[in-house]
Amino acid sequence: MRQIAAISLVQFSIVYILLLVVLAVMKKAKINQTKLLFVASVRLTLQLTLAGFILTYIFENPHPIFILMYLTSMILFAIHRVLSKNKCVNRGFKIAISLSLTCSGLGIVIFFVTAVVGQSIFDPQYVIPLSGMIIGNAMTGVNLATKTFCESLSEKRQQMESLLNLGVTPQKILLPMVNQALETALLPTLNSMLGMGIVSLPGMMTGQILSGTLPTTAILYQISIMIAICAVVCLSVFGSLYFGYKTLYNSRNQFLYL
């Protein structure tokens, strides 16, 4: 395999011509999002440039403290994103989400890097990209599940009230909603597993092939990361909802928010 060709800055700047094409189409179609296109392009460039410098520094000066800081900030960001998008949950539910994301995210990252890849948990070359994929997907899954669960709670208010009056336990009333939210959160991952390799070559595999890795090695990485993503989504959503829903009623079997 050949090593990846380095792109010179002049060559790189040519790609921005494509943005002008997008701009022209937007103008023609009267899509009034020129400002957004501009801001998005600038942010994309600045954020990735910054990330590039930070990662270069960390790779040249590998130290456990950098890895810990990176993982901590990534998990905190993931928790913040989920909680800020789902304002309906109470304090206990927030704790359940935070703990589930942290434990399942870290657990799967450690398992994947040390057991599957067989590298040190403090090796930035492996930990940083892999943890990004694992925790990022956990965040999306928990976000989707919590949103689905909150929507069910507000849609099914009358059903919940009727069943509670009938002498049904809150667990029995809420569990079908928990299971439905878990299924909703898992489906995108399962569907992407179905189409993988046929519909598209996934991002990580494409990146590895471009940088000169043998496709057979890239495939092993891709299959294992997909399974790890499936597991982390399942565990983080399961933990968030199963511990979270128990905060919605008290020992007198009363709903705490109806």
Binding site: Q159, E161, S162, G167, R252, N253, Q254
Partner: protein, 208 residues
Amino acid sequence: MDIISLSQVVFQSMIRYPDIKIPKGKTTFIHGPSGCGKSTLLKLINGTISPDSGEIVFNGNNIDDIDTIKLRRDILLVSQSVFLFSGTIEENFKKYYEYRDQETPSKEHMEKFLQICRAEFPLETRCETMSGGERQRVYIAIFLSFMPEVLMLDEPTSALDNTSSDIIMSNIKNFSDDNDMTTIVVSHYLPLAQKYGDNIIALERSRP
């Protein structure tokens, strides 16, 4: 003999209830202006909400000492907001009985209670296609079919015309009397209370 009694019950520092006694095997109507806490009273009695202070006694026991699930099965509240699952009337009976871990009743049993509530529709009728009043009648019939010790109805005739209200209340009253069931009805419509109530409790808006 009283089956339920309330003494010095205050809810969320907003509503102070008078001492109330509900006689066993009788039909008690609760009447009063909106906002006086009629529906809240029913929720306090079945333990889906708790008072700040005071005591609610059911069959001689403080309800705090009774398992809440058993309490709600013995004192069944048919709330004002009707909920039916999507599907037929028969499927709704099945679903509600499943939630109570009970076997689906026979078709005759279902039809008997539908008849009491003046909802004599074929069991295959889909509930989504029914009017508000029809759904309310089916809903009451399903709850009544569990034959609780105490049946609490919150504005059971709110979506019904006067004739239907009259017939349903008459049927439920006869059924309760025949089966020694205690019935508590919240209604804003006083003539109905005067006609079918063995006992009428008038609540007033109060501040502690």
